[in-house]
């Protein structure tokens, strides 16, 4: 019986792995193709004789892209880091501070605050393009880091990641501290934050990844090379003379690698963040 089952399983196992592997190839191939295209000598890029495995590897396109005066990639990179790290800090700190009182204490009006935070999910930056443009300019934040960081710090999903986690913590922990006469700051600092560390890491990662990828807000706010992050820098390659698709893909590769690396190194936290944020989201 057992033996027979094992045999009949073989074809379905083959079908299963075929689907999984083909899907993985469809997902992964574009990355391979992007990187390979940037590593070919440029005369072998624009040819209909497509080489899946290049005959020759060359770092020429990176040398050209990195030395292009119209396209200060190093600067773009630094800007991306500043914007992503800055908004991550603000998002995570504000979410963590508010999560404890909203999840655990009976605060009059707390429900309204919760609703207001979650409702912002229906107003993503793309929906209020001009509203944000006007606001940033009237606050004199046009073409500044804070002008990009502040709108990007509004990310209710991160709040939900921390909030949902705090809700699930065993009540005894903070109630015991309360009975011992600890005040709200002590409970937050010594009980809630240490216990919520996994959720805070997840929230920070998700926040960093989404701010790094964002194009719309920086495109709206930044006005010159010294302020553009990589996501905007990549699109400028199109409007700059003499820049080829290969160079655009080179910038795209530089834009892509950091988030992929961060994700691969921390995938466990990213996955739990995605699922805890989506429970009640």
């Amino acid at each position: 019986m057992n033996h027979k089952m094992k045999i009949s399983r073989v074809p379905s196992q083959i079908a299963l792995y075929t689907i999984l592997i083909v899907s993985a190839l469809v997902i992964a191939f574009p990355y391979y193709w992007m990187v390979i295209t940037t590593l070919k000598p440029s005369d072998q890029v624009y040819t209909s004789d497509i080489q899946l495995i290049p005959k020759e590897i060359s770092l020429e396109s990176y040398r050209v892209a990195l030395s292009d005066k119209q396209l200060p990639i190093g600067r773009f990179f630094v800007n991306s880091v500043i914007i992503a790290v800055g908004s991550t800090c603000i998002t995570v700190v504000t979410a963590t501070l508010a999560a404890y009182p909203l999840a655990r204490r009976h605060v009059p009006g707390g429900k309204i605050a919760y609703f207001l935070i979650v409702a912002t999910m229906m107003v993503p930056g793309e929906v209020v393009l001009i509203g944000i443009f006007m606001l940033v300019n009237s606050l004199k934040m046009g073409n500044t880091y804070q002008g990009m960081i502040m709108p990007l710090s509004v990310n209710a999903v991160i709040f939900l990641v921390v909030y949902n986690y705090v809700t699930e913590l065993p009540k005894e922990m903070d109630e015991a501290a309360l009975v011992d006469g600890a005040n709200i700051w002590q409970i937050l600092w010594e009980v809630i934050i240490p216990l919520s560390r996994p959720a805070i890491y997840s929230g920070a990662l998700l926040s960093f990844l989404s701010a790094w990828q964002n194009f719309t807000i920086p495109y709206l706010v930044a006005q010159n090379n010294s302020m553009y992050p990589l996501a905007v820098g990549a699109i400028l390659t199109e409007s700059t003379l003499y820049i080829t698709m290969q160079e655009t893909l080179t910038v795209s590769t530089i834009l892509t690698i950091p988030t992929l690396l961060v994700f691969i190194l921390t995938q466990r936290f990213v996955f739990t963040g995605i699922t805890t944020g989506a429970i009640k989201g």
Partner: protein, 291 residues
């Protein structure tokens, strides 16, 4: 009541930063946009009050109507493809015999952490009619590939496919987490009743996933209706408006072609917001009723 408020004064201090931040940088801009949609606004000047003229203007504009339809088609098409593929992948990956589960999960998730700008350029290059690798592959199978981005009948579908590539892993992770909550006894009982795996999928898995899939539909709607950079980079709404979305329409009215028609743009933004809100409330209602 007043005493509770006073006792919780520290709580208010903790809640204040996030509330102020979200009010200023998310709620205020939408109110501002709402106000602007009733004015003949040019750049930063509010201009004269015009009532519903902006709304009437865009609703009667065939170009906007096309953008409206495109946004909905794009969203609906993406939802169907993505939810079917991600459900199938997560059920397969969740099979007890599968090895290298994390490896597959990580691979499928890569596009989720890839910038839409990079995604768009990669695919633009792969879709290229002359040097593109997609048509080369199709050629090997004896199929004459279409002009993915310049054929008005195909372009929107091409974008849906890229969107599916980008998002499938995200929904797969959510569905998988909920699959793991289903009691194994339910499958054992079904197996004893002689149900095949396909049967088990339709009788056990799918009904228990209804709430989750409802939530996914909601997340899809909010995320896909706001799609901007994908379209902006790949097609700029072309060819001939075939991929124009509400978001790109909003952008072009305000910042493209030197028109600076902020009032019209604001009205289009508000319609997009209303669309998101209506769909969110509907699917929210459905989730609450089911779950």
């Amino acid at each position: 009541m007043m005493r509770t408020i006073w006792r919780e004064r520290a709580s208010y201090l903790l809640i204040m930063p996030i509330v102020v931040l979200y009010l200023v940088f998310s709620i205020y801009p939408i109110i501002n946009t709402f106000q602007m949609s009733f004015y003949d606004a040019k750049i930063v000047k509010l201009g004269p009050f015009v009532g519903f003229k902006n709304y009437a203007g865009i609703v009667s504009d065939p170009y906007f109507r096309q953008a409206f339809t495109n946004s909905i088609t794009f969203t609906a098409g993406s939802i169907i493809i993505i939810l079917v593929v991600s459900t199938v992948l997560s059920v397969l990956l969740n099979a007890p015999t599968v090895r290298f589960r994390t490896f597959f999960k990580v691979i499928y998730f890569l596009p989720v952490v890839t910038s839409f700008v990079a995604t768009s350029y990669i695919w633009k290059w792969m879709y290229d009619p002359v040097f593109g690798v997609v048509n080369t592959f199709l050629g090997l199978l004896g199929i004459q590939g279409p002009e993915w981005l310049s054929d008005p009948d195909i372009a929107l579908l091409s974008l849906v496919l890229v969107n599916a590539w980008k998002w499938t892993g995200y929904f797969m992770v959510i569905i998988m987490a909920n699959l793991q909550l289903i009691e194994p006894e339910l499958y054992e009982a079904a197996a004893i009743d002689g149900a095949s795996s396909l049967h088990q999928f339709f009788r056990v898995t799918l009904p228990l996933l209804r709430g989750t899939l409802g939530l996914c539909v909601l997340l899809c709607i909010v995320n896909f209706l706001r799609t901007f950079s994908l379209v902006f980079v790949m097609t700029r709404g072309g060819p001939a408006g075939a991929t124009e979305m509400i978001t790109t329409f909003v952008y072009m009215q305000a910042f493209g072609t030197g028109r600076m028609a902020f009032g019209l743009s604001a009205a289009a933004s508000m319609l997009l917001f209303a669309l998101i809100m209506v769909f969110t409330l509907i699917s929210n209602r459905l989730i609450v009723r089911r779950g």
